[in-house]
């Protein structure tokens, strides 16, 4: 064993120093219990361990590799109760010396902890929120975004609509703040790809339309002649009612129907079926997008630790942010961080309930550096100022 380790050390000659005596890195998974949303359908239960299970699987993956590099990874899972204080919890963990935080928190909490942590030698990995805020004005040098922003999702949809020549859009927005934010992104994408919003309506029905959708939706969707209905309903409160009930026979895209997501159970290309199988076998359910975000975060740490031959924060950060960093995320391309806003550049899946329809960036959308940067905020349009 000693011989093997010595040989590995000799092989990985990035650093002259041998492996640190302390060969274990503890990574924090931090989340807060969420109030159950009034789901439109009770077909798919939302698992309470979303994200955590993705992180756990990646820890296992890191440790399998770690056997050969003498690096060990441990997950410390912290789940703050519904009425608890996640910020205090975060502060306490920082005090204890933890430096890698993979989080699934709400927008307010993430804003607060990331502004408190600004400039500190630690990383916060946002594994669930798609707010453009964290890729723009609210970005931070040590806040890394693992899942696609709303802008990236909207651009992915925009590319597909243009490819299909479905250029006249009927936009439906829900009443929540998140829905309106998605609408903003969708409008930007429409402008970017030369699509026209011919009609725009807000779904204000505050009641459960389970029994009345058949009569409500046709009336609601009457309006200007359009090619496609684009819906923003992030909580899933009404969007599912639209399909098959519209006045004109039109496809539904957006947050229901054809959706833009980082991960989906129909995804099987580029070895994805292996990750799906490994996850399902171990966790007994499908891998969700938040699981994938957390998996990516732990793997990013693992990859940087392997390549930099260190478990220390500085070399890991340096490698992760460098041009050499490349993460294999089962989407056929090397994933890396955009240096201007710390968004993980990645393909966005366009999925229907039971079929993978397309993977953006679509062929033909060109970019001087990487096609993936046709999605979301590219360097020239970014209003993120890092170093804060």
């Amino acid at each position: 064993m000693v011989r093997i380790i010595l040989q590995v050390v000799a092989l990985l000659v990035w650093s002259s120093s041998a492996f640190s005596v302390d060969d274990t890195l503890e990574i924090v998974w931090l989340t807060q219990e969420k109030a159950a949303t009034a789901a439109l359908s009770n077909l798919d239960a939302t698992p309470s361990d979303e994200g955590l299970k993705g992180a756990e699987l990646a820890i296992k993956d890191n440790n399998t590799t770690g056997r050969f590099t003498n690096q060990k990874f441990v997950l410390k899972s912290v789940i703050v109760p519904l009425d608890g204080n996640a910020e205090q919890q975060f502060d306490a963990l920082v005090q204890q010396g933890f430096q890698h935080f993979i989080v699934d928190l709400n927008t307010n909490t993430l804003t607060n902890i990331s502004s408190k942590a600004a400039g500190k030698a630690l990383h916060i990995y946002n594994s669930s929120l798609s707010d453009d805020l964290f890729r723009g004005a609210g970005c931070r040098g040590n806040l890394l975004n693992m899942v696609p922003s709303r802008a990236m999702r909207a651009d992915a949809l925009g590319q597909y609509l243009l490819k299909k020549r479905w250029k006249k859009l009927f936009l439906v927005t829900g009443p929540s703040k998140e829905d309106r934010l998605y609408t903003v992104a969708l409008k930007k994408a429409a402008k970017k790809f030369g699509l026209k919003i011919v009609e725009e309506k807000e779904w204000t029905h505050t009641y459960d339309a389970r029994r009345t959708a058949q009569s409500d939706v046709p009336l609601f969707t009457r309006g200007a002649e359009h090619d496609v209905l684009v819906v923003a309903d992030e909580q899933g409160l009404y969007g599912e009612y639209l399909e098959y009930r519209t006045w004109l026979p039109r496809p539904v895209v957006g947050t229901q129907g054809l959706v833009a997501t980082a991960w989906h159970r129909t995804h099987e290309q580029w070895g994805a079926v292996q990750l799906q199988n490994r996850f399902k076998k171990k966790m007994g359910r499908w891998m969700s997008e938040i699981d994938y975000g957390a998996w990516l975060a732990v793997r990013a740490i693992g990859e940087a630790a392997t390549r930099s031959n260190s478990l220390d924060f500085d070399p890991i950060r340096r490698f992760m942010m460098s041009d050499q960093f490349a993460l294999a995320g089962f989407k056929g391309k090397k994933l890396s961080f955009r240096s201007w806003n710390n968004q993980l550049r990645q393909p966005v899946l366009l999925a229907a309930a039971r079929s993978m329809v397309a993977v953006a960036p679509l062929l033909g959308f060109l970019h001087p550096v990487t096609m993936m940067d046709t999605l979301g905020f590219d360097r020239p349009e970014s209003n993120c100022k890092l170093g804060n």
Partner: protein, 321 residues
């Protein structure tokens, strides 16, 4: 009688030549759970035979009489008579076998078990598992060196090549390579190991003595984005003159001068070209094209693509007799 003997002699002679000259190409069809059999010279699909679930890796026994096929979802290696195409046996393979290689003497089979992070060593004579070797995450490519010294395995998520000593069956070296290493192939003289990294987009040539890269080749094709170039299958001819690398969704096979380690040409084949195999005389190279559901046939003398043959859904592995 004399006449009959003569005729028989001519027939025997004819059948000898026809079997040695006509390539019989065996292709596993991952989605059809079947084996496609193609007459390589005529470029025609002869027959399709049912196999186990999700057949992927395929190899001929040293004497050519048997075919080994990894039926991944049945957790077994099926043994098929290469003349009658009937399934004659099974080998224990561990879970989810994907690719494998035979030792030069044919007595051992080394299998990568993708889901369990293991390489399983099987005694082909006693049909028993000799050892399970813990490797990195998602073991993929397996290759034995022609001199019998090494068996190497690539692990896709760990991004390493594990060098296993065939005597002790222990890992003695690990080489870190670019992202998502897939195929591994030794040169005929056992001096070099070629490794493709699918996501990294490179071919690494490692020196078998030092286990270090002596050269890294990246591929550039006009009109094809770098991201579409995902190197997978490798074939290197016996003479060490030419090497070939399948470039996945770039739909091309790179031709490499194996002496200078330089790329000399890109041949347009079917969509998502995957694995490669030579005809026994190495005058033809067969490619499996996963998305266009066909096999391309390349003339290795002038590096021209001769033909493509539709074979069935998701052609994966290829072996030629």
């Amino acid at each position: 009688m004399k006449q009959a003997k003569k005729l028989l002699g001519a027939f025997v002679l004819y059948s000898f030549f026809s079997t040695s000259w006509a390539d019989t190409v065996f292709i596993t069809l991952e989605k059809d759970n079947a084996l496609a059999i193609v007459d390589g010279k005529a470029g025609k699909l002869i027959k399709t035979v049912k196999l186990g679930q999700r057949p992927r890796g395929i190899m001929l026994s040293a004497d050519g009489s048997k075919l080994y096929v990894a039926a991944s979802d049945d957790d077994t290696i099926q043994v098929i008579d290469s003349n009658s195409y009937s399934i004659v046996g099974e080998l224990p393979s561990g879970e989810d076998p994907e690719t494998f290689d035979l030792s030069p003497d044919g007595t051992r089979l080394y299998v990568s078990n993708e889901d369990d992070d293991l390489v399983t060593v099987i005694d082909t004579v006693n049909q028993k598992v000799v050892k399970e070797i813990a490797v990195g995450v998602e073991p993929e490519g397996i290759a034995t060196s022609p001199d019998g010294k090494w068996v190497v395995n690539s692990s896709e998520t760990t991004n390493m090549i594990h060098w296993i000593d065939t005597e002790s069956l222990d890992i003695v070296e690990n080489t870190l390579v670019d992202q998502r290493p897939r195929a591994v192939k030794f040169t005929a003289d056992s001096k070099q190991l070629w490794v493709t990294s699918e996501v990294g987009g490179v071919l690494s040539v490692l020196d078998a003595k030092t286990q270090q890269a002596v050269k890294k080749l990246t591929f550039k094709i006009r009109g094809v984005t770098a991201e579409q170039i995902q190197p997978v299958g490798i074939a290197i001819d016996q003479a060490g003159r030419w090497g070939y690398v399948a470039l996945g969704p770039a739909n091309r096979v790179a031709v490499i001068d194996a002496k200078k380690l330089e790329i000399v040409d890109y041949l347009l084949v079917g969509q998502r070209v995957w694995n490669l195999a030579f005809s026994p005389d190495q005058s033809r190279l067969y490619t499996t094209n996963g998305v266009s559901n066909d096999v391309s046939i390349i003339n290795t003398e002038n590096h021209k693509v001769l033909k493509s043959v539709a074979v069935g859904r998701y052609p994966w592995g290829v072996a030629v007799k």
